[in-house]
Symmetry: C2
Subunit: 117 residues, 2 copies
DNA sequence: GATAACTTTGCAATACTGTTGCATGAGTTT
DNA sequence: AAACTCATGCAACAGTATTGCAAAGTTATC
């Protein structure tokens, strides 16, 4: 199962929701995939994005991705087709937070239309 | 109802979820507040943030806010208290998207701990 | 002022995503 | 083969968002 889910994420070059992954199989339980994804996340194989579409999406990490400060990149949600792309070569800029705020993590989602649409 | 909901949003200087707003009233239906917020949004009085906490949060717009390109600011989600702050004096930097992508909107959420925590 | 037309509210029901308990089953180890 | 570990499927549940509908409230019109 892990190999199959990994394949799906690898083939598609974008972030997929639990439901979208489920669609690519014939008879696999949501919960099974859910737990597989959770395992992947615990082991830093994938990262999740909440792009505001209502469903969290998952995408493979790069080899050097630590899913923390080092590999924060923009995500792009196409408002037409609903696909979410990882803009991996676009690291997010450093943010100067006001006094008292400490930075742990960030989620930068840009919405618009993608090249396909 | 609209005046009351507006007041709540105005008093609190942060983004509130539907549930949090509901808590500030004695006997008001979720759906009523929901529709009130929707009306506000349609008329660009408020903007919504999906900070990844599971619930969308709402905050008043500034007078000159058009809720589109002009007033995009960072939002800060405190991972300890769960409060979401609008960093209104921090406009988001311009993003150079790859060829083919068009910019419509953006949602930049930073997570960490806030000054109160 | 009475009636009609329209709007808002509350209730109930529903959709959707995410999540967990539990029993079964598959595969591994001893 | 028995004991063990782990993954799977089913079913149930939780939380948020959303809508249909009828009742209550408001505004307009005569």
């Amino acid at each position: 199962m892990r190999e199959l889910v990994y394949e799906v994420l690898d083939k598609n070059k974008k972030a997929l929701s639990l439901y979208e992954i489920e669609q690519q199989f014939e008879n696999v339980e949501r919960s099974t995939i859910f737990r597989t994804l959770k395992t992947f996340q615990d082991n830093l194989l994938i990262h999740s994005v909440d792009d505001g579409s209502g469903a969290v999406k998952y995408a493979l990490c790069d080899d050097d991705c630590t899913c923390s400060l080092n590999d924060l990149h923009y995500h792009f949600l196409c408002t037409k087709c609903g696909q979410t792309h990882c803009l991996k070569n676009m690291p997010i800029p450093k943010v100067d937070l006001p006094q008292g705020f400490s930075f742990e993590n960030a989620n930068f989602v840009i919405k618009g239309t993608c090249p396909n649409c």
